[in-house]
């Protein structure tokens, strides 16, 4: 009997020796998170991803395995981020006619908006005395995650902190765009979409597609262009200072 309990207690460790348990846990948490999100009537302060991430964290904390064991397995899933970034070429290409028609106003406003999105956070954190590692993890916060992750690596930031920052930014941006566009009486779906895509990356874009397809198209345009622009500009500017 004791023998049997011994084998049972070793089981979680053995599960996480191969990536399968980590991948299954991630997928399971994702579907439960999405289900709970619908049951909670889609609260915009708490995306399904956050519910799922908390669930995974609780499971790991309860099982006798460390977050490193989970990360080792989940890395296989995150490897798909590379091809997923390349796949963003499809919405980008689909919106090329829109970009061509509006290239002038977009060229004037988007780089400035994307720069401000990074600058505000870095300046506030720097004024409040955050060290360089924290600043490097906050700077790419408005960029879609595959790009943000490689940027944080490039700048020397913390991956975990960046992902938290990306999530918080997405949630705040969705709330902010809905609130401020009401205050400013902005109803143009193109404008709301662009603001969601520039500031709220993939999370904002998903929200924009819920408003309507025009907002969604402009949000993916804003997301792709902010990602491409920040990916080029941020490392160059960063290395001037650090």
């Amino acid at each position: 009997m004791n023998d049997w309990f011994g084998r049972l207690s070793q089981l979680p460790q053995q599960w996480f020796e191969s990536p399968i348990a980590a991948i299954a846990l991630t997928l399971g948490a994702y579907f439960i998170g999405t289900r709970l999100f619908k049951l909670m009537r889609r609260p915009n302060w708490c995306p399904p991803m956050l519910i799922a991430a908390i669930m995974i964290a609780v499971v790991i904390a309860l099982l006798p395995v460390g977050v490193e064991d989970y990360n080792r397995g989940a890395r296989w899933l995150m490897m798909l981020l590379g091809p997923a970034t390349v796949a963003l070429a499809v919405p980008l290409y689909q919106q090329l006619p829109q970009i061509r028609a509006l290239w002038k106003p977009i060229l004037m406003t988007l780089p400035l908006s994307a720069t401000l999105a990074a600058c505000y956070a870095v300046i506030i954190a720097a004024v409040m005395g955050a060290p360089e590692e924290v600043l490097a993890s906050l700077a790419p916060k408005s960029v879609t995650s595959p790009i943000a992750l490689s940027l944080a690596e490039e700048l020397g930031g913390s991956r975990a902190l960046l992902m938290g920052a990306v999530l918080t930014t997405g949630v705040t941006a969705i709330f902010g765009v809905e609130w401020l566009s009401r205050v400013l009486k902005i109803r143009d779906p193109r404008l709301i979409g662009l603001a969601l895509g520039i500031n709220g990356h993939a999370l904002g874009t998903v929200r924009a597609f819920e408003i309507n397809s025009v907002a969604g198209a402009f949000a993916s345009l804003g997301m792709s262009l902010t990602g491409a622009f920040t990916a080029v500009a941020l490392p160059l500017v960063w290395h001037l200072f650090y």
Partner: protein, 127 residues
């Protein structure tokens, strides 16, 4: 099978991006270079490869799922940034609200109003 063929195309462009990044010391993620190369390729061909479109839809829909493992770690390294939380949270929330406000104002100023909203077009002036 066409999904796998599309996936192979994405991998080829990812590898192409990686090659260019290494060869020319481009300070950008290889995925982004691959994305730009693929967009250029679509433009050159004058259309999109149906296999790539078929694989890209599920992959983009999976983006949120793919970044979730990264979010999990923050709960375990939180105490590493214990004395920074005030700065981090203020920077994220105030910074994001400020940037949303400025991008909404900028866009409203410079984006020509669409016809269906019926508002008068603002004249664009350089400042």
């Amino acid at each position: 099978m066409s999904v796998l063929r599309g996936f192979l195309w994405l991998l080829v462009f990812l590898l192409l991006g990686q090659t260019l990044v290494r060869l020319f010391h481009i300070p950008m993620p290889s995925g982004v270079i691959g994305m730009l190369m693929l967009t250029l390729w679509f433009g050159y061909r004058g259309g999109m490869n149906a296999d790539i479109v078929r694989i890209s839809q599920p992959l983009i829909a999976m983006l949120a799922l793919l970044i979730m493992p990264g979010v999990v770690e923050i709960f375990f390294v939180a105490d590493q940034f214990a004395d920074q939380w005030a700065a981090i949270v203020t920077a994220l929330i105030a910074g994001t609200l400020l940037s949303v406000l400025s991008s909404l104002l900028l866009m409203r100023r410079y984006l020509p109003a669409s016809d269906d909203t019926g508002t008068a077009r603002e004249t664009i002036s350089h400042e």
